[in-house]
Symmetry: D2
């Protein structure tokens, strides 16, 4: 038996490493670093992310909680080293600041980021002290944690898939294929889109935005298949599944909304 | 000094009473039942809710945590009696089931409710055992808790307002008035809409839907004014303000989505 | 299925009522107010507590979470009214302070109580605002919560018993009887002592102390029978059963220590 | 501003490393690995622990949450490598079990340890899967966490000291010296005892026990100096400081009791 799953992540974007400790897993779950590395690699893909697959790839290292390929019931330590660390050792040194010319401080807060609020909250004059942790790089640790969670869910026949339904105003059409086909197509698509026609238009929209020095927003859908009835509970506000899911999504960087089922379309449907 | 605010609610829809216990308030906060009753009354308003203001109104009773009009620092007990309780004493008796003809069980689960999942999760054969707690009546207790929270926020100059921006496909236009005027208009509107033209169209849409035996969804906006910089934190996933807000909203009955700022429109904006 | 059991209590010693809300119980557990009242009555017994069984007895009232004698899976509300409340309505009024001569403030902090620290922490000038909540009267609500927990444990064949092993330096001898006999004797004893000889000496010691205007400390032992192997866990510091038990005990008023098994005697055993 | 301090530890006794992640620290706290290493070294001392100071000493490595000697407000990662790891890489491999002759399983549960309960709870046949985490080696990570906490407390003028008051039935006499002198003496003593006469008798007792193939229990006292009034709170059971302290102590391996102030002596005092 495990307990209630909980985890903490740590790590700066250009620091030595990202770390996650996960408590509450059951014993006897088959788990390898490869189970997690697949998701880490997927996280690094995406059209327009530098024009080509990055040469470097994140790799998780498990240093606790697993023995001979099986979880022990004890907490897991997951570490993902920042491969660029050797170039940042001075700038991001844990110890004394580098002698001589110190790396320049970041002093101009970017709009739409945690820069200003973070600097005010924590009293930082060098915004690097904020952005190193507020960076979306942190999600790397959460993707690793999620890889472990997916292994556990897999034992119960529960699988998770996701696909992009909208980018820059381009929406997919109705997908009249099984979910497994949606997954397959999304995995094969540079923009994780399961609708070929929309995919082409999305790529065009990205190219246009890029040429104009802009970026685009989008929408993705996450589907959990094989869930048992009765997850979460209606009996207390903080046990409701919808709320817990919305929290998880809206804690991801740059995500500005979460819907369950029909979502906001329920509000727009004419009577 | 108070602690971390936390609360639990209890109570069935047709049971004796709804109760909330709130822990973590500071001492010395001026608080009366009237501070809370205003919000409870507002909760019971709404166009189409039976055609007229309900004669009965919810009233909170404070039985702990306040003395001589000031909080003590100790936990609050808030109780809202169900005024219909005397007609339900047998059906909802805590003690032995009523002798003779027992009230009929509810056996047909309603779609879109917790009925089926709840009955399966908790092993209930009488769906009344689910719907009595899964009912939106529970939000009465949370509105009372929120009334206390708003009193506390008020000490810091923080105020909360809300208004309806869409019902059944009818959207408001751009509101070029101060937020206090939005609040004033929303409070005066039967559908809590701050745009007169849209308000009329919303009421028509509701009337049409009602005549057709249907209901409509909608969208509302909540605005917090006077917040200090730096609430929440970017340093750990579960301390992010966006996630905490989304969780709070999506834990409300029938709410199927939450957006922060631009929300989903950010995904639809053409490049 | 239930969730993780959690509860909050509220209520002042001379306020209207003590309240507890319990979340996380499973559905279908047989539970009556009588199940709880037995423990409440036992809490009010004790040699030297006014010389005779108090005429008034605490009675719990369940107003949520139970229907027709079975838990619903939803939260329980337990209320124990303070029977003396009508004499304290002015002194402990939730609303405006009483007109005319206000009840006198308590201004002399008692040593060994929360009076001084509480008044400083919460900024109270009238120590009544502290002692009303710091009073051991609060344990009444916890005894009620524990009554519910014992009903749940009973379904798994787990029973809890306790007996007094020392009062004012008088210790019991070795009890070479079955635990059920210890329980029976303790229940029958005015000082909850299962050793007849020690019981007499304890009563004498209490009488002597009382005559001298003093009180005595003591030690009691709590025994859980029928526990399954593997409660708690060694994998994370805050899941260790010993720590959780010690916390529960040391959160009770006037309890200054907790031991598991041999306890401090392990430190005194000569090599 | 920081948040509520919380931490998780991970790591097996002969695994690669022990790790702790700490969340909730404020920014701007001066912190070096040396601040923590002092406590780690002290943890490894103790009379009879092999007859001489161990050559190897635990060293913490900070890989997140600190920059240029100051905390960032973001979570800390503390890692203490197990120096013996290279000899245990096969036995404790995270990946596939070693080819050829697998290291022998541990199948005889030791009394007084988590071996049996842990194996039953988690379904382990090789007790090594239990003892690697239930080992007191885990406290190394907690000592590191405590080192950080002590740095934070130091900013408020709060200091913590401890000394041994009893070993194997040998008790110290009354210490009529200032606490700082108690600390100084305890630090200088092989058995952390501030009473010279008792110290000699304790060492004799240990030697005797050792010669007889036995071990001894003991008692230590922890003192916090400079605490502000009002830590913890009487308003809710789980916020009481006594309970939280007792939990922390009784979560340490082999600790079987915790007392506050007079403790159990209050029960033994004759009237």
């Amino acid at each position: 038996m495990g307990g209630r799953l909980r985890f903490l992540t740590a790590g700066e974007s250009h620091g030595e490493a990202l770390t996650a400790v996960i408590d509450g897993l059951p014993a006897g779950l088959a788990l390898t670093e490869a189970d997690i590395n697949g998701d880490l690699a997927r996280r690094q893909r995406g059209y327009g992310r530098g024009g080509r697959m990055k040469i470097e790839q994140d790799q998780v290292h498990i240093s606790a909680g697993v023995r001979w390929g099986l979880t022990l019931g004890s907490p897991l330590t997951l570490t993902i080293r920042n491969r660029d660390w050797e170039n940042w050792q001075q700038t991001m040194s844990v110890g004394a600041p580098p002698a001589g010319a110190a790396p320049k401080a970041v002093t101009r807060p970017r709009p739409g980021h945690a820069d200003l609020a973070g600097a005010m909250k924590y009293g930082h004059r060098d915004i690097r002290n904020v952005l190193e942790r507020s960076s979306a790089r942190e999600t790397t640790a959460r993707v690793a944690v999620a890889g472990v969670a997916k292994r556990l869910l897999g034992e119960f026949g529960i699988t998770i898939l996701s696909h992009v339904s909208e980018i820059g105003g381009v929406r997919i059409g109705v997908l009249e294929v099984p979910w497994e086909e949606v997954r397959r197509r999304a995995e094969a698509s540079e923009v994780r889109c399961a609708d070929r026609a929309a995919e082409a238009a999305m790529i065009e929209a990205i190219d246009r935005a890029k040429a104009a020095g802009d970026t685009l927003g989008g929408v993705f859908e996450v589907v959990a298949l094989g869930c048992p009835v009765g997850l979460g509970s209606y009996v207390q506000w903080d046990r409701k599944l919808d709320g817990q899911l919305a929290r998880a999504f809206c804690s991801i960087h740059a995500i500005k909304g979460a819907e369950i089922g029909l979502g906001f379309r329920a509000g727009s449907r004419a009577g």
